[in-house]
Amino acid sequence: MLEFQNVSFTVDDDQGKKEILQNINLVFNEKQFIVITGPNGGGKSTLAKLIAGIEKPTSGKIFMDGEDITEMSITERAKKGIAFAFQQPVKFKGIQVLDLLRIASGKRLTAAQGCDYLSEVGLCARDYIGREVNASLSGGELKRIEIATVLARKSRFSVFDEPEAGIDLWSFQNLTRIFENMRNNISDSTILIISHQERILNIADEIIVLKNGTVVKQGSREEILPEIIGTDSAVDACAALRRTEVPENA
């Protein structure tokens, strides 16, 4: 469905040019739940932005269904069926949750239809549908609304950039359930998630490990997960909690 051919991405920094991604060749197939992991600074978010068109490659080509989309704008790619959930959800003054869901779906959704999407991400819809998408919402709430906007697009290729970033553990546990549901109901679409979390990696069909701008491992979950467990590419969100648990007889 989506293919990267020799994609590189370079930025200018104090020391001259810095290569964020080097000659990436990847094929993302339909009906796949793919997780990209790897150490921070490895180029994962850049790769996600290249898919959505927020960044353009310095060299190389990106194809969707065989068509070269390298030079296509964000809007054109969205219309082709690429959706993108931001790592840091964007806030708006005055735009309400329902407005955003209507823009996302491209339809004049009724409040009830909007509520369905919110329910899917575990928000009590009635309390949120008329709220402004602003700083009065918590990080976890914004994240869920961000995911709901991607669901409302009914896209063929959905990218989620570190859905666990910036939220508390409790919210994260609930979020993983949303992704488990997506995994179970995947139809002709592709879901790509950037994540370090073991619980997300556990439901992947395919895992890609990106390090220093190159793909260092790629394969099925069964193949890759045992190799990376316990490294910073597969973090157990609750391990830290367990370590600090107070013994019963203390």
Partner: protein, 308 residues
């Protein structure tokens, strides 16, 4: 509404959402003359003896009633100053809808300066909506200089919604308010200027009584080469709380000057001001573009939301 032409009807719709004659009391003014008027048992509208405007007298205990006093000008070159004085009794709960629409297709300037004064009685609640709108492609300017004065008695509350979104070439609005004990004023102002328009908005709210409060939020968008000046002042003369907020989006070659100011003359006055000016955030545009909007559509959505 039979007696009005299409332009006048459209202006009435824009400034007062009127598709037909409103329920309750009303005074409709077109091209410098009273065109239609209705008083009710509780709300009396009478012309001032010197012909400079109208008095609106609302009896004590008038609840869930409304007054509409929109003004439209569709002649080029008409300049007028009108005084509208509202005497709101005690224990009332009323809606007042004002507003002015100017359509100027000619070469001469048209100007309406409405001076609205409110005396709000004890424990009364007033919701006041004022919309300003301009249209017409003549070279004559559409000018509106409204002045609003509010005197609020003990325990009264007033919510003011002031909107000027389109087509007014030049405006200088002044809003003055004085609040007695336990009176509460909420103002929501929305301003959009485009082309070479100029808008100046001045507020001075005096919190004179114990536990009085004011919350004034002005949101503005200055596009093209337009100019906005927002001067929001609260004076706290007692144990009171006041908050002003100027929040502006600047676009193209627009210019905005925000001058929030606070004056406390009592140690128990709690006053806060916030002011922010900035262009539309790039990540907001990108987010909406990932949802399938073009950059221009995204910009419109962001501004519509901001001014909603």
């Amino acid at each position: 509404m039979l007696k009005f032409d299409e332009i006048q009807k459209r202006l009435f719709e824009e400034v007062a959402d009127l598709h037909e004659l409103p329920e309750g009391a009303y005074n409709l003014r077109t091209n410098g003359k009273a065109a239609d008027r209705k008083s009710t048992e509780n709300i009396e509208i009478i012309s001032k003896e010197d012909g400079t405007g109208i008095d609106i007298r609302i009896k004590d205990h008038t609840v869930k009633q409304s007054v509409h006093i929109p003004v439209v000008i569709s002649e080029s070159g008409l300049t007028e100053t009108v005084y509208n004085d509202f005497y709101v009794g005690e224990d009332c709960d009323v809606l007042i809808v004002a507003g002015c629409g100017i359509d100027n297709c000619g070469t001469q300037d048209s100007e309406h300066d409405g001076i609205h004064r409110f005396w709000v009685g004890k424990n009364s609640k007033v919701r006041y909506v004022e919309k300003h709108y301009g249209s017409g492609d003549g070279t004559g300017q559409r000018i509106l200089n409204p002045q609003t004065e509010v005197y609020m008695a003990e325990g009264s509350s007033m919510e003011m919604e002031m909107v000027q979104i389109k087509g007014v070439d030049s405006t200088e609005r002044t809003t003055l308010a004085e609040l007695e004990a336990n009176a509460h004023l909420v103002v929501r102002e929305r301003l959009m200027t485009h082309g070479t328009q100029q808008a100046i908005s001045n507020y001075h709210v005096k919190l004179n009584g114990e536990d009085s409060s004011a919350d004034i939020v002005s949101r503005g968008v200055a596009r093209d080469r337009s100019y906005q000046k927002l001067d929001l002042k609260i004076t706290g003369n007692a144990a009171c709380s006041g908050h002003t907020e100027c929040d502006s989006i600047i676009m193209d070659e627009g210019k905005i000057l925000a001058v929030p100011s606070l004056e406390a003359n009592s140690v128990d006055a709690q006053l806060i001001h916030e002011a922010a000016i900035g262009k539309i955030a790039g990540d907001q545009l990108i987010k909406l573009m990932t949802l399938g909007l073009t950059e221009q559509e995204a910009e419109e959505q962001i501004i519509n939301g901001f001014l909603k």
